[in-house]
Amino acid sequence: MQIYLPIAEISINAFLLLGIGGVVGMLSGMFGVGGGFLITPLLFFIGIPPAVAVATGVNQVVASSVSGVLAHLRRKTVDLRMGTVLLVGGIFGSALGIWVFSQMRSLGQIDLFVQLSYVVFLGAIGFLMLQEALRALLRTRRADAPPRRLHQHLWVHKLPLKMKFRTSGLYISVIPPVLVGISVGFLAAIMGVGGGFIMVPAMIYLLGMPTKVVVGTSLFQIIFVAAFTTVMHASNTYSVDILLALFLIIGGVIGAQIGTTLGLRLKAEQLRILLALLVLLVSGKIALDLLLTPAELYSISIDGRW
């Protein structure tokens, strides 16, 4: 069944969209990631204009984070105060990202910019995840490995403007969380992702937050940054396609539930290696598209449209 998307202005098979939403939703349920970093490139691959893919991807992130954060709120594993500080940074970062996005669009380089961002960030994250997962796999095999220290005093603890974060049990400067928020908001605007894949490691290793509140707090922040970014994209680039988002969301929420159940039955370390390989595969495909001589050197951009 073909469906005509009013903003992307192309006709796409509805089951393909539900399928993409479903598969990514399943992976996000299995691995506890938002999935924006997979949805957006998959939309490029099926021919959705990159600007629409980014803006609609971030809209889909809103749905998956709301669905995820509710469980964390019930379990009280959300540090609302830290979330709010991150959020302030996120709003600034997103506004900056939207501005850069518009500039790149008027220069005719938005496709390249988005693709390069994906290659760099997905590539780096993929390598880090693979390294971490392999190390964890080795650690479980060697039971005599030294345990990780629970609380470390890092340079970030010496900065001014300190604030008490009771849920996280931290008394740290607000500067690092604001900076983390800014970078994540920036990535949300230019890549159409929630940014959990950057924020979660930053919260654990940079801010020293306890692992149990990390995912909930990051989801909480992502909802608002993604919502803000969606509205900004809608009013600046007119490239949010509600119909496209709806199909991705429907596929996504069903997939996520299946993924969560499936994830409980599989081994965590092996899952993480799989996810890392998947991330590397996607970034490799985008990199290849940039490196290989394209079949068509010319492209058309209609003035005044994304």
Binding site: Q2, Y4, S11, N59, S65, T230, V231, A234, I242, P294
Partner: protein, 255 residues
Amino acid sequence: MRIPGFLIAFIMLLGLPARGEEVVAALSQTNVALTATFEGSEILVYGAVRREAPIPEGDPPLEVIVTVQGPAGPLTVWRKARRAGIWVNVEAVSVSSAPSYYAVATSGLLGDVLTATEDLRHRVSIPRAIRAFGAADTVPDAEAFTDALLRIREEDGLYQLLEGEVELDRDTLFTARISLPANITEGVYSTRIFLTRGGAVIDRFDTAIDVSKVGIERWLFVTAHEQPVFYGLLAVLIAMFSGWAASAGFRYLRS
């Protein structure tokens, strides 16, 4: 003998058809609705040649050309080149006006049924339908860019040259089928039917097809452009509601 185009125009100005042959035509549909499930459409153009006198003997044969043109607008054609190992959009040529869709169907080879002068005047062939003034200022080979524009749009089925696709019966009745692909944009699609003899246009009939988004498609498109903030908030609300509903729904199913 070929009749110069200006003479025909002059005679037509006087209100006298050159040879007393007129074209009357109609379309199978004058409205195309871009609904959510739009998969393309086929327009049947049909008509007849009306004559006061019998068909002239010994004249060059009668030919029919049908063109359908979608809304036109400015665009930019980019060319990639390798920079620091990756392929980047480097050079650009602005095209001041190019139709989003253009189909030309003829009863014979376009070069045979229409002279170059007449083509220039009526802008019938595909290269004549686009205007790329001043393009040569920016790059030395601007033609390669306009060629690429034609090639890309032809591959997408947006520009179609349908030579010999107009069926002309007994020099009087004709039909042509024009397909509108699924990726067309909305607007007024002006349709022209030309009657030619010996490459010269002897009559012309103009009509239009109205292609518009309808229902939810139309509403979403208009809202996205006219009330973007409201549209953005709506997108967020739908996403939040879906997220909540999914979570609540599956929790209910599990319990």
